[in-house]
């Protein structure tokens, strides 16, 4: 009995459902186009308002200035808003800080971000405070800073150099992977390896570094890679090969505290590897 009633209902519904589907199918293209047009107008007109203005940035910057102390890192996210951030807080960011190896040596990191973006410098850290100013989120992060015992960039010009080189080493603020990097830059002759001998340094528990090829135009015109090898007491403790599209390649090595001989080998890999502007930075850390 119930089954028969269901069938009756289905039979009664069928024509109206079919009609509704037919109507919907006929109306849908126009409705979709109208809906898309309305949505596009609303989104397009509203899009600029999704980006905080200078008033919001001014408030956020003022809040940072109240608690900021020298030596604290300020970062912005997403990367494309970096110029706006620097316009508001650039006086607190020395060029060397902007070209840092990484964020490990800074006890406090201020992150100013928009549109829900996050800076890779604060990855894995937990914000101790977070405030929002008209769409600019200000987060303060604290961490145990890495203690730097020696900066190989600063030491590079005085290092003993062996091997055939076109130029260098010089201390540069260079573009590597489209980001600023304070680094020691050296250009080996094509296919040659150049060794920077830093002599005996007092090491701690690690050496952290980064390396890459500077200058977008020579990277475009010559596609050969470079190679870096970090040697402690003649032993290779870290080695990286880096190509034209690899950007800033990080490396690290655990070391035994005490005095050790430190060398960095830089190679322009391949006979055609001219103009390999090898740019590296490394810090001896406790």
């Amino acid at each position: 009995m119930p089954r028969r009633r269901d069938a009756t209902i289905r039979a009664a519904l069928r024509p109206s459902v079919a009609a509704a589907v037919t109507v919907a199918a006929r109306v849908a293209p126009a409705v979709i186009l109208l809906a898309v047009a309305a949505w596009e107008i609303v989104v397009t007109r509203g899009a600029p308002g999704e980006v905080p203005d200078d008033a919001a940035w001014g408030q956020a910057a003022a809040a940072v200035r109240v608690d900021h102390r020298p030596g604290e890192l300020i970062v912005f996210a997403p990367p494309w808003v970096d110029p706006v951030g620097r316009m508001h807080l650039g006086e607190l960011i020395p060029p060397d800080m902007a070209g840092r190896l990484d964020a490990a040596r800074y006890p406090v990191i201020w992150e100013l971000s928009i549109r829900g973006a996050r800076s890779p410098d604060t990855a894995g850290l937990r914000a101790v405070s977070s405030r929002s100013f008209g769409g600019v989120t200000v987060r303060r992060f604290e961490q145990a800073p890495a203690e730097v015992l020696a900066d190989l960039v600063a030491l590079a010009p005085k290092a003993t150099v062996r091997g055939k080189r076109a130029r260098g080493p010089t201390v540069e603020l260079a573009e590597v992977g489209f980001a600023p990097h304070r680094c020691a830059q050296l250009v080996p002759q094509p296919g040659e390896t150049v060794t920077l001998d830093f002599g005996r340094l007092t090491l701690g528990g690690s050496i952290a570094g980064g390396v890459g090829l500077a200058d977008v135009f020579t990277r475009r015109d010559v596609r050969d890679p470079g190679r870096l090898a970090l040697k402690v007491d003649g032993e290779v403790v870290a080695e990286r090969r880096f190509g034209v599209d690899d950007g800033w390649v990080r490396f690290a090595a655990a070391t035994t505290p005490g005095e050790h001989a430190v060398e960095v080998e830089l190679e322009a890999v391949g006979k055609g590897a001219r103009d390999r502007l090898i740019c590296f930075a490394a810090e001896v850390r406790r």
């Binding site: 109507v23 006929r26 109306v27 293209p29 126009a30 979709i32 186009l33 109208l34 898309v36 047009a37 309305a38 949505w39 596009e40 107008i41 989104v43 397009t44 007109r45 899009a47 600029p48 999704e50 980006v51 905080p52 203005d53 997403p78 494309w80 808003v81 110029p83 706006v84 620097r86 316009m87 807080l89 650039g90 006086e91 960011i93 020395p94 060029p95 902007a98 070209g99 549109r115 973006a117 540069e172 603020l173 260079a174 573009e175 489209f178 980001a179 600023p180 200058d215 977008v216 990277r219 475009r220 596609r223 034209v244 599209d245």
Partner: protein, 629 residues
Amino acid sequence: MSETRAPAGAAPPDVAGSGVEIVDGIAVERAPDGGMLAARLDRSTWWRRWLPRATGALLFVASLALVLTAQRDVGLARDEVLYMHQGKVYAAWWLDAVTGEPVLTEEKIDAAWGAGRVDAGNGEHPPLLKTMFGLSHALLHDELGVASERTAYRAPTALLQAVLVVLVFAFTLAVWGYAEGVIAALLVLLLPRLFFHSQLACFDAPIATLWFATVVAYYRALASRLWCLGLGVVFGLALATKHNAIILPAVVVAHYAWVSLWSRRRQWRGDRDRARDLLAGGRTRSRLALVVRMIGPTLREAAVGAARLRPLVFAGLIVVGPLTLFALWPRLWVHPGHVFDWIGFHLDHVHYNFEYLGDNWNAPPFPWHVALVTTLVTVPVVTLVAGGLGAGVLAARAWRGEAAFPDRAPALLIFLSFGASIGPFFLGSTPIFGAEKHWAPAIPSLCIAAGVGAVWAARRLGALVVERLAWARGRRGLVDGLAIAALGGALVAASAVETAASQPYGLTHYNALAGGAAGGADLGMNRQFWGVAAQGVLPWLRAQPPGKVYSHDASPAWGVYIKEGKLDAGHGDAGREDVGIGRSKYAIVVHELHFNRHDYMIWKAYGTVQPVLVLRAGGVPVVSVYRRP
């Protein structure tokens, strides 16, 4: 051949015995074999005669006025300055030549048009537009004094944009209808990136016009011997505009092959049926065997059809086109081999840096989807959706055998034009810098499909309203008109909002799908090129105490800005790279990913990372200005 359109809402003509049928609302007179003989224009009322002409004229004037007005806010592009200069030289040579000055010597031609290096005299680009820039400058600025130098140089591009809008309207009107034509034309006009390029004295918008003009000329040539000559001339003008015109013959060949075969479809079907019978006799029903067996008959019928259709179009393409190019390019008169150097230059073009999805690309292989994704985030969403709908409608009509003018296959023609324009960018090896400007000739096809799709959707809605609502019965024409106006108006409004939002930094703008300029930046899409945005910081710089400016990518335009009074002479260009920065008191950085290095050079020299001004478009930084502390 003339073409006609059945009156909207009119009853279909009596087809019985008349050889006339209504296909997609178009009155088509058929030959006994099913081929199209003619379609006559309905000139029964004065407004049917004059409305299309008045609409075309209105579209032309509105387009020209809009572009000429808007371009004043758009900064000078790096290459544009070179084209302006070279155009002035070319124009002076032509004016000397027609006034009888002794400039027809190799020495004088070399001096004006370049010799030796392929890029001497800007010889890596053909001369038509540059010559037009120069002549326009001589006429509108020097002679008549009715335009500024910049506007005078840019007027030819604006003019050709207006021509494109009218051509799209006229072609779509002739094939699919008035409403389709109006919507398609307005969507072409209100396409942000094409609109941006139509404001510059460059070649990217003009080649879209001349590419489409060639397609239309070919379409006309299929029905008129005289138009074969017109096709050749227009193709020659396209060749003399930009090198991507060399792809156009591929469109013609593919389309011609199809319509040739279509013209022999009865014979081909007979061959196919015989082949099927033979295969059935051999007890095989393999489709592959049928395909293999049909290769020969297909080629034969295509050849017969091609020979009978209009082979003269190829004379236009092969003879008249190159001759037109030759006539317009005096360098070829004395160095004909330069034509190979010109093409070779572009086949081996350096890959400029270009940001795409967060990465900087300057060497192949490039991602296959660059053209697809870039189109999806730069063309108004309504145009994309309506274009997709229209493509589906056209494909369905073709499948059902209801395509408009199947003997000339206009839908296939615009599809092939679209594919040939954008297709090379799926190869992974074609340079992607410049992105959408390189496949701008695809835009008319997309907008025509959008016009067809929008009107189809509106008519579907109109038909439903007439069926369901008592007051609408008997008012089909009115209801359709209202539905088309509402839907078309909504599409055009959305496109207009996108275009308005994109001005004057059109290269920074991304559509609603991307989330506007900021959404494009989030996606890591290219911010801009050619240093156009630098004009936006000139008012600020002008208010500052004098001092040299490191202008990097805007340096070719700097002198023009000073000449125009947008800057004082005290804010002259400081020079290039580190030396220029060292001499400068102010420095600008035009934000592109690979220009970040300029920031770092300035930080090092000025000792600060802090710009004093950051110009933004849609909230996204486009130019930073530094002042030496």
